[in-house]
Structure formats: structure tokens, C-alpha cells
């Protein structure tokens, strides 16, 4: 932090008046090296932070992304950041939270994709893998209890809500959720093999 304070303090004092002497040459070119300094000081710490919370290979991308956000933030351009460490921490946490939000949005999405998987094509391996996946999915579906399977397909393919399924089947919404949990668990095991 000592390095940063040294740089930021002169940057946050009021602008020079006409009569003031010009700052020494080196101060004028300081802003870019300062970001480097920040990176040197906080980079490793952020990397450790991300490494505990994201995939290893993602961690360094996230560090970069943090610094890009930091550098392009208005506060940074105006050099009004009092405590860059806290600010960086905030950016880092927000980045992870963005990922969580995006996962959440994908979970809520209610489209029933109707795209055909290419079962034939120029890439023989891709076609075989697609068939293999379908095959495993079919087998896994057939191994589900019929009731669980019907509920799963009614929700996943027909787009019925838990509530609609509950009304028509006489189950409670929690009961539908239980069947969905069973189905996802089973299909996940079958597809992940």
C-alpha cells in the first residue's frame, strides 16, 4: 500500500494554479506505472481470492477483468480513489456475483429448445457423440420411475409449471419439486458418465 499512497496523494490534491511551478517531469508520466504498481501489489492477492472461488484457469482472467474495470472506472480516471484496495475488492466480488447472477438467469430461463442435434454431418466424431448422448438420455429416461419421468418431461418439454403439474396430478408443488430433483439427479449421473 505504501507505493499506492505515494502515488495517489499527489494525484488527489487540487489542480495546479497558473503560478505554481511545474511538477517534475517524472510525476507527469506516473499514472501508467502506478497501475502497474497496483497490479504488482494486488494482483497476487486477487489471484488467491479468485482461486478460492473460481476455476483455476478462470482466476487469472478474472484478475485481468478486475483491473480493466478498475482502470476504466470513472473514479480511477478522476484519480479520486482513496483506497484502491477496497475498491478492487468490491470489483472482484461484483465480478463473481455477476457470474452467479448469470447462472441464476440461465436456471430460470423458460425456453424449450427445439433444435435438432446433428446426428450426421461432416464431423463423424461429433455425430457419434451426439448419438451417444441421445442414447444415454433415452436409457436414463426409461430408467426413471414413470411418474418421475412424466413430470420431468411435462415440465422440461411441454413447459408446464410445477403449479400446473401439481394441479393436474394431485401432488403438492413440493412433491413436484421432489420428482424434479430425483429426475435431474438421475439424468445428470447418466449424462456425466
Amino acid at each position: 500500500m505504501r507505493v499506492i499512497d505515494g502515488f495517489l496523494k499527489p494525484a488527489t490534491v487540487p489542480r495546479l494554479a497558473e503560478a505554481d511551478p511545474l511538477p517534475p517531469e517524472d510525476r507527469l508520466v506516473r499514472p501508467m506505472p502506478a497501475l502497474d504498481d497496483l497490479y504488482r501489489v494486488h494482483g497476487p492477492r486477487l489471484l488467491r481470492f479468485f482461486a478460492r472461488r473460481a476455476d483455476r484457469q478462470d482466476a487469472s482472467d478474472l484478475v485481468h477483468e478486475s483491473f480493466i474495470r478498475f482502470a476504466s472506472s470513472e473514479a480511477c480516471r478522476d484519480r479520486t480513489i482513496e483506497c484502491p484496495e477496497a475498491y478492487l475488492n468490491q470489483i472482484a466480488t461484483n465480478l463473481l456475483r455477476d457470474r452467479a447472477k448469470s447462472a441464476l438467469q440461465r436456471s430460470l430461463a423458460n425456453h424449450v429448445p427445439a433444435d435438432e442435434v446433428p446426428l450426421a454431418g461432416t464431423d463423424l466424431v461429433a455425430a457419434l457423440e451426439a448419438r451417444d448422448r441421445l442414447n444415454r438420455l433415452q436409457n436414463a429416461l426409461m430408467r426413471l420411475k414413470p411418474k418421475t419421468r412424466d413430470i420431468f418431461l411435462a415440465h422440461r418439454l411441454d413447459g408446464l409449471s410445477y403449479k400446473q403439474i401439481a394441479e393436474r396430478s394431485g401432488l403438492s408443488i413440493k412433491g413436484v419439486e421432489w420428482h424434479m430433483t430425483k429426475a435431474i439427479d438421475h439424468l445428470d449421473r447418466a449424462l456425466r458418465r
Binding site: A54, L134, R168, I184, L191
Partner: protein
Amino acid sequence: MEGRATASSAPDAVREQAIAWLARFRSGATDVDHAEFEDWYIADPRHAEAYEAILETWDQTALAAQTPAASHRHTGRRHSLARIAGIAAAVLLLFVAGSYALTRYPWRGPAPETLLASRIGEIRTIVLDDGSRVTLDTDSVVHVNFDDDQRRLQLERGRARFEVAHDARRAFVVTAGASEIVAHGTVFDIDLRQPSALVSLLQGSVEVRKTARAGEARRTSAVLRPGQQLALGGTAATAQPAMIRSTETRWPTGMLSFEDTRLAEVVASANRYSQTRIVIGDPAAKERRFTGTFKAGDPKQLADMIGTMFELRVERDPNDNLVIASRK
């Protein structure tokens, strides 16, 4: 910023939590605490990883629309939900309809033929229904046809290792070009990429014979012993078994080994594993002898290794190939 220790980070527990979150979100419940989910998601990389994996499964289950299980449901929502209500007969019918559909779908059940294939640079092992294992080298294709009497396979392209599960009732027969290799409980390689296709026996015994053509009364055959290999091309009757060099049997590890081999041959082998090709620009260099082991599918590393070993220059050409030439 300090990481919190998470109480339940055992893989199974995390996976179950991930599934529970998804099943919860799908319920459309309005009381789901989004912030609570976000906290859970970012608390530990294993949480995020587990959740992304479950989401991927979820995305894939959209393919269910293309399975017989879905398309042969009694059509209409009323019907399927009537079944949910518990009409046993309907459930039973669905089951029968479902299993019938299975056998009719080409990708399901005792398929008349299974195709195994690998991409350029890929080495993959597939376990067959009988427990035998087929390892495909880069860019290879094998057809598999099993029935009650015979386990028939055909190597169409590339190289493959066959580790044959013992089954006294059903012979394991691999066709390669105009030859058949008959095996019982053995391990052997067939390589179609050599000038003449090669069978190399690692364990057990195999019989190599020419496939009988119409009008040919006799079939020629040879029996190999472990450690021997036989060229299949040309006249198999006259070909003599040769000893296998140990460096030739290591390919399933993804490492390529060569002993005192022409550089041109080493490079040709390596080029099978990647789209980026190594080109030897200097005719004299092709004749240099190479001894060493390297990882298949990493042409840059090999080119640099060759460059250093033989004091040659390595450059990229406009097609992204690696050109090796003398330093001048």
C-alpha cells in the same frame, strides 16, 4: 476477502445442493432468495463448478425431445398427466410402447453396427459390450458388429489397439484391408497407415488370414506369437513375422517414441496428431536419425526439439505450418 471454510464441500453434498437449487428455481417460487444463492455460488469454486455442471446437464436434457421416450409418450398433455394421476394400465402401455420404440431407433438397443471414431490428435479408448477395449489412435475409424456367433470388427482407417475379452463361444475377428485377424483373449495393434498394414501382437495369440474371395478355395494364414508383427499388404503367404520394437507399442499413452529413425518418418508420424504440420524444408535433414520420446499433438514442441537437436531453423509459414530448414 478471506475465504470462508465451507461446511459441506464433499463432492456429493455440493452436487446435491446444486440440484436442489435448480429444482427450486424451476418451481417458479417467488420466495427463493437470490442473494442467498449468489452467496452460496461464490463461496467456493466447487459450488460454482458443481452448479455449472448441473446447468449443462439441464441444457442437454432439452435433447429429450428427440428421444423415443418423449416422442412416444401418449400425445397431449391431458393424457400424460392422466397417467401421472396413476392409471397403471396406461403406464404399462407407455412402457411397452417405449421399449418397442427403442429397438426401432438406429441409435438404440442391439445396433446392427456401431461406429467408433477419433479426431485428429485424439487417442480414445472405448469399452465394448463384451468388455473388450478398443483404443483408437489419432484419426481412426472402427466398425463394430457383434452378434451371437461372432464379434466382428473392421478397422477402416488409422490404427487401433484391441484388448480382447475372452469369450470361447464368440470369436473376435478384425478385418483390415484384405486380411482377417482372429483372436481369443489377446492384445494386438493393427496399423493401416504404414505402406503395408501391420499387425502387432502384444499378448496371447492371433491368427492372420486372407479373407476368402469368391472362387478361392484356400485361405492362407499365419499364427503370430507375442512380440511379433506381420505386414498384411501384398502376399501375406510370403510375409515373415518380424519382432516388434518396444517403441512401437507405446502410442496409447499419447507419447511417441522413436529409436534411430529417419527424421522424415518421425515427422510423418507426429503430423497425424495435429492440424499444424511440420514440414522439413531441407532434403538432407529428412535423412537425419532421431532417437527420443515426445508428446503427440504438440508440433511446436517437437519442431523446437528437432531444431535444437540438429541445429536447424524453425519458422511458421503462411499456412501456419512449421517449416524446419538449415540455418544459413
